[in-house]
Amino acid sequence: MIIVKDLHKSFEDNQVLKGVSYHIHPGEKIVVVGPSGSGKSTFLRCLNLLERPTSGEIWFDGQNITDPKIDINKVRQHMGMVFQHFNLFNNLTIMNNITLAPVKLKLMGEEEAKENALKLLKRVGLEEKADAYPASLSGGQKQRIAIVRSLAMNPRVMLFDEPTSALDPEMVGEVLEVMKELAESGMTMVVVTHEMGFAREVGTKVLFMDGGNIVEENTPQEFFTNPQSPRLQEFLSKVL
């Protein structure tokens, strides 16, 4: 579904990704962990070209999306993204946050988009917030809405960039719950997170990134009980 070939990304002199290659299959839940500065967020943000790779290729559904001739806006319609800081549109109500993209991109009529939004809001238990503004919601509620906003586009893959890192501890659970449910529904997911419990429980593969490369990749079971590289052993000993 997503094939990454020899991905490099530099910010001026700072080389953040040093030749990452990976293959994500449909239905997989890839969890990416690693120390800060390891390049895991940059890797994720390259997948929908929020960061332009310095070199290397990314293929999505048989299309080389790093080709400058590709209409990246079209591609992004199929790749949902959830951010650490939610990034709900502050000037719009929850309902309009969800319906803006489908309606403006002419994927749905206004009525259809609203109906769909209500259905999704119900799924995360927030239908009574439809007319509220983001400023009146808690962090956990905002992130659940952000997930719904992405889902309203019917994406084929969902990217999560540390979705629970900015939340109060007591709100982490409600967001992870929604993500778990999404995983069970068969969605292809790539999740950058520090939640090791989530990685173990939901991930089909866990990647360990360090120094701009994927250092180790394994099933959650093997990843946590039998880490190979000394760097991962050290990392796990600190976080578990």
Partner: protein, 229 residues
């Protein structure tokens, strides 16, 4: 006490002198209004040009031109700009309101450009990223997400700029236009009374700017709706 009333009577009422002030006020308002419109138009365009970047993130030529315009206009006195327009660039033009409106509009545009630019930059960049990640293009995200949010923070300094603009038009007497200030000035030498005409127009200017700021405050409150917690 009687003396004060005599002064006021002489300065404003005797010989229908209030009509002169009214005419002067008309000139001041006309120039301010058209200059403000032009300033918003030029300023908004200049702000977006200055913000424009190429694909690789470097500045466009349009961006450099906009920067130069802002630099030059902000770096030279308005009076000098007005005199240059009057006696140089538009010397053959007979319509003095047009000349003044153009001058102040171009001048105000430079300040408005920086106000608009700052407002857009003040919107969290996560908002643009979220819009783009949903498949909206840059223009759509600007239009539906960024500009409505920027507008809220643009409004207060923009109001400030309009207040400055109204007051700054008081220099049009330099090029022979009879605005509020010039009328009062002529009156002081005619009546040998320095204070009354000037205090009178100071009051008028104050009322003008006060009304403007009340209207803007109202608009601001309405735009705050989405901030309610």
């Amino acid at each position: 006490m009687q003396n004060i009333w005599q002064h006021i009577y002489a300065a404003f009422i005797e010989a229908d002198r209030w009509k002169l002030y009214l005419k002067g006020l008309g000139v001041t308002l006309e120039v301010s209004f058209f200059a403000a419109l032009l300033g918003i138009l030029i300023g908004t365009i200049a702000a977006f040009l200055k913000l424009s970047t190429r694909k690789n993130g470097s500045k466009t030529i349009a961006s450099r031109i906009a920067s130069a315009y802002i630099d030059i206009i902000r770096g030279t006195p308005t009076t000098v700009q007005l005199l240059i327009m009057w006696s140089g660039i538009l010397a053959t033009c007979k319509n003095s309101v047009l000349i003044a409106s153009l001058t102040f509009g171009i001048n105000s545009g430079a300040y408005v450009a920086e106000i608009v630019r700052a407002g857009i930059l003040a919107v969290d960049k996560g908002q643009m990223e979220a819009g783009r990640s949903l498949g909206l293009n840059k223009f759509q995200t600007m239009r539906y997400i960024i500009i409505p949010q920027a507008f809220k923070s643009i409004l207060p300094p923009l109001g400030n700029e309009f207040i400055v603009l109204i007051k700054e038009t008081s220099i049009v007497g330099y090029v022979g236009m009879s605005d509020l200030t010039r009328v009062a000035n002529q009156m002081t030498s005619k009546l040998f009374d320095v204070f009354t005409p000037l205090l009178g127009i100071a009051f008028i200017y104050f009322v003008l700017t006060k009304v403007l700021s009340i209207l803007l405050a109202k608009l601001e409150r309405r735009l705050r709706k989405s901030d309610n917690r």
